[in-house]
């Protein structure tokens, strides 16, 4: 393609994503847009997807539908190229969202006509504004009986500062307002700028490991042009590769001669490891590199850590293999070997957040069939010692002795909670309980309030969201961002089972709540650990001092005293089941401890099970 053709094509490109709270109708709207633009029926789309899967088998391309090229014939008679870029929907993946948004010039902001703006939506709107995106507000579900489009319009104006007259009214479900949305995309979202003849600058916003083709890089070309045979360099990792194939998803992966300014598509270049293709990194030409990478790249650092141990110590190597396989496709996952006196050999793993942690855990258990013990999640503490040195602690068991510590800092987040004003009290109580510092509270309209607290991340990582939901009947929405480290009066609390310290149960708690937490934990463990053949004392200690104690009574009676007659197989099964159950427990010292007990140290109070 000639330079002028590329410029001409560039003018017809519109890149956008859809920002929406869960259930506000994002996928329905995306479906409607796909139908209208690719002129496909649902049925054909499904067929096409099936074709794509055949193709996957033939050519070995795995499809991840998160950047689709569509063509749209607008009212002005011109044919436009749309790239619709999907964004992950969870707070753990805020950085990925910000990069996906950075690949766009505009965004559709979908707000439910009955629910109004939610915290998650607002967080993503701010990300979009940070990236200078043109935002088109769409009030969805206007045909619902409970819809209040005027109120929500006002909210959009008051809270976000967009002109309420610019709000489009739609019902993706009933197909209302779709044409208006597509025309607004053409009219309001700017075409990409950038010189197609300049040195290549493309931003990676996602990548995927495919066993046949290596890593498939999802990227947006900002400047320059890339085609098969080109040598490219990843600017952050400095790795170089030869491009084998470039293309777009229509949604079928379709090879193209080149990707140029404004294009959003994929690149395959014999890349073995997703950690070579970091989200946010800039791809440039190896022969004619650009001087400056695109702004906004940062290496993703895990925020939440926990120990993963195989229940059966023989599974250690399998667990390592599993983590290595998962790492291929997950640049944010970190792990390193760790040893626990109680649990033996395992790994300390770092995750972006709780959801990320749960996903990995579940995949290991399900896909790799390894029973896991997960220790309570921890954050990274900065520990300043009296000798002036500093330690970074991601495992409570490694906390130095109290007398060697000068002070400890822990990570804080700014948490934003939106609720109907009836629940303000409940939310504030929860935030206080979680050691939050009040920052701000604003009424978004006469009924809805935005509450801002600074809260230690360690208090968020466990059950904050669950408790928030249950104490606000599900009305609260929640988002948070890291704001840095603050000094806290933290101490390490150890748990002893049968007078033996169990390192995997140690936690770091605030001094003021240590007694209360200790009491709750020993009671919880008493409840979770089944009776053993002997009495087991459970103790919580600070240093040498015992601050709470409970006792698991010795097993009193466990014998089949039922009339089974000649049914031996039944008896056998019962005994096998009992034996199996014990296998899933971890023998710690002489005590059999069930998996869930290791998480229980984070339970906040005894009212919640």
């Amino acid at each position: 393609m000639k330079h002028e053709d590329r410029i001409k094509r560039r003018e017809k490109i519109r890149n956008f994503s859809i920002i929406a709270h869960i259930d506000h109708g994002k996928s329905t709207l995306a479906d409607r847009i796909l139908e209208k633009t690719s002129a496909l029926t649902q049925r054909e789309m499904k067929d096409q997807m099936l074709d794509a899967m055949d193709l996957e088998r033939e050519r070995g391309i795995t499809i991840k539908l998160n950047a689709v090229q569509l063509s749209y014939k607008a009212n002005d008679g011109e044919e436009y190229i749309f790239h619709l870029i999907d964004t992950p929907g969870h707070v753990d993946f805020t950085y990925e969202v910000s990069r996906s948004l950075a690949a766009c010039e505009g965004a559709l902001l979908i707000v439910d006509a009955a629910q109004g703006i939610e915290a998650q939506t607002l967080a993503n709107v701010y990300l979009a504004l940070d990236n200078d995106l043109e935002i088109i507000p769409v009030i969805n579900k206007i045909d619902l009986p409970s819809a209040e489009p005027e109120r929500v319009k006002q909210e959009v104006e008051d809270v976000i500062g967009l002109d309420k007259e610019d709000c489009l009214l739609a019902s993706a479900k009933s197909g209302i307002g779709i044409d208006e949305i597509l025309e607004a995309v053409v009219d309001k979202i700017p075409a990409p700028s950038g010189d197609p003849s300049a040195p290549l600058k493309a931003m990676i916003f996602d990548s995927l490991y495919d066993p046949y083709r290596g890593v498939i890089v999802y990227m947006r070309v900002v400047e320059g042009t890339v085609k098969p045979g080109d040598k490219v360099r990843m600017m952050a990792t400095k790795k170089e590769f030869e491009v084998q194939e470039v293309g777009v998803f229509t949604p079928k992966p379709t090879a193209m001669e080149e990707l140029t300014v404004g294009d959003v598509g994929f690149m395959i270049a014999s890349i073995k490891n997703v950690s070579d293709t970091r989200v946010g990194d800039t791809v440039t030409s190896a022969d004619r590199p650009t001087a400056e990478p695109l702004p906004g790249y940062r290496k993703l650092n895990p925020m939440v850590f926990c120990g993963l141990y195989p229940v059966d110590t023989n599974d250690y190597n399998d667990l390592r293999d599993a983590l290595e396989k998962l790492e291929l496709n997950d640049a944010a996952l970190q792990f390193e070997p760790e040893t626990s006196q109680a649990l033996g050999f395992g790994f300390r793993c770092g995750f972006l957040g709780l959801l990320h942690m749960e996903i990995i855990q579940e995949r290991i258990e399900r896909e790799f069939n390894i029973d896991l013990i997960t220790t309570a999640p921890s954050v990274i503490y900065h520990v300043y010692l009296t000798d002036g040195s500093q330690l970074t602690i991601d495992n409570p068991a490694n906390m130095p002795e109290q007398q060697k510590i000068d002070h400890v800092e822990e990570p804080y987040v700014k948490a934003q909670v939106m609720v109907p004003n009836d629940y303000v009290g409940a939310v504030m109580e929860l935030c206080q309980k979680k050691r939050g510092d009040y920052v701000d509270m604003k009424y978004m309209d006469e009924n809805r309030v935005n509450i801002v607290y600074e809260i230690p991340l360690s208090e968020i990582v466990f059950d904050f969201f669950d408790v928030l939901k249950s104490s606000t009947k599900g009305y609260a929405s929640f988002d948070y961002e890291m704001i840095g480290y603050k000094e806290s009066r933290l101490v390490k609390m150890d748990i002893l089972l049968n007078a033996e310290k169990i390192d995997a149960l140690s936690i770091i708690v605030h001094r003021d709540s240590a007694y209360q937490r200790g009491k709750v934990i020993v009671e919880k463990l008493k409840e979770l650990i089944p009776r053993q053949q002997f009495e087991v004392p459970v103790q919580a200690t600070l240093g040498q001092k015992i601050i709470a104690r409970s006792t698991i009574k010795a097993m009193r009676k466990n014998v089949l005293a039922k009339c089974y007659g000649g049914d031996i197989s039944r008896k056998r099964k019962l005994l096998e089941k009992q034996k199996e159950g014990k296998k899933r427990m971890k023998s710690v010292g002489s005590v059999e401890v069930p998996q869930e007990a290791f998480m229980s140290v984070l339970s906040m109070d005894d009212t919640k099970k």
Partner: protein
């Protein structure tokens, strides 16, 4: 060879809340057809797996006495006709208090039945009602009197403890009452909530106030004290007998010996193979008519399983398992077959070596399952 027979009568006039045995509400059931198919099963079984003598028979249910006198006669007579009964035979029939009249008892006695197992469960009228039994405490006394009148000299009572809402006082009252009855044998079972029962439904909803592990343990110990006072000696976890009145039939199971199983849902262990009969009547009857046998499952017991069963069944007996007998049976020393299993249990005070026998200690008796599971060798 096989010297024991179990015959299952799967009919009941009332279904108890805890019962998960193979049983059907009696009304409108094809009882006569069932009985004649049982006859076929006996004939075919003996043809396929002959025996020279039978030394114990147990007719259980369900409720054998829910059959009419004629029907029960037919069944018992069939058993008598085909099986080569030896003179010192033990022949037990389960009897439901209230459904065994003089006529039935006389008939049984005449045919050779010499032991009755009476399903008393408890002497507390409220508890009886709560567990879904349709008899009254007086019915138990009446049945015992009638049985004595007819000439039965070996009577056993079935009792249950650990029932919902049951108190220690209620159990004591029942046990004291039992000791006034001058019977020969007691089986005392603790309630286990099983799926597909009324109790399970209640349990799931959290509406079954079970006594809990501690009280149940206390009850079991109380039971043992009362039994000892009444001159019953305990010979198995749930079984107590006056001298010479141990149930030979049940000992067959614990000694890991062969037994025939006749009827719907019955289990058998014959010449090294365990079999389970179809439970539902239509299935049992269909299989019988088509193939002459009602087997739902067959399992050839492996050597490893035989050894495991020798232990987890045998250790139920207070006398324990004979090490000499084990060596004779399996050609291997017991502590070699279960290396690493026995001595930790001995050290924990759960097992005890007593001459030639390995047996449960007092503590082990209460924690039997903890011991038994250790004798499963796994893959």
């Amino acid at each position: 060879m096989t010297h024991a027979v179990y015959v299952h009568v799967p009919f009941c006039e009332q279904i108890c809340h805890y019962c998960d045995f193979n049983k059907f509400f009696l009304a409108n059931q094809p009882v006569d057809e069932y009985l004649s198919l049982c006859e076929d099963e006996i004939v075919n079984t003996l043809k396929a797996f002959p025996t020279d003598r039978i030394s114990t028979i147990y007719v259980g249910g369900g409720t054998p006495t829910s059959l009419s006198t004629d029907q029960l006669y037919k069944l018992l007579n069939t058993i008598k006709l085909y099986f080569p009964l030896q003179p010192e035979l033990e022949w037990t029939v389960e009897v439901n208090p209230g459904s065994a009249d003089l006529e039935k008892l006389k008939m049984m006695k005449e045919l050779g039945v010499n032991r009755l197992s009476i399903g008393a469960q408890t002497f507390d009228p409220t508890l009886l009602k709560q567990i879904g039994r349709d008899h009254h405490p007086e019915d138990i006394d009446k049945t015992i009197l009638l049985a004595r009148e007819v000439g039965f000299t070996n009577l056993s009572l079935d009792l249950m403890f650990g029932l919902p809402n049951q108190t220690m006082e209620q159990l004591n009252t029942t046990l004291e009452k039992v000791n006034t009855l001058s019977i020969e044998h007691v089986s005392a079972y603790s309630l286990k909530v099983e799926e597909k029962t009324v109790f399970y439904q209640l349990f799931k909803k959290g509406k079954l106030p079970l006594p809990g592990e501690d009280l149940e343990g206390d009850m079991y110990e109380e039971l043992r004290i009362h039994m000892a006072k009444g001159n019953f000696h305990q010979y198995e976890i749930s079984n107590f007998a006056k001298d010479g009145y141990e149930s030979k039939h049940n000992v067959t199971y614990w000694d890991n010996e062969y037994y025939y199983g006749i009827g719907a849902g019955a289990h058998s262990y014959v010449n090294g193979t365990r079999r389970i009969n179809h439970g539902p009547l239509p299935k049992y009857m269909e299989a019988m008519k088509k193939t002459g046998f009602p087997f739902r499952e067959e399992h050839r017991v492996t050597l490893k399983e035989k050894m495991e069963e020798e232990m987890f069944m045998g250790l139920r007996k207070l006398s324990g398992v004979s090490m000499n007998k084990f060596r004779e049976k399996f050609n291997i020393e017991m502590d070699e077959a279960f290396s690493g299993v026995i001595s930790p249990l001995v050290n924990k005070g759960l097992l005890l070596q007593d001459g030639d026998f390995l047996r449960l200690t007092e503590k082990g008796l209460l924690l039997g399952n903890e011991v038994f599971e250790q004798f499963l060798l796994g893959e």
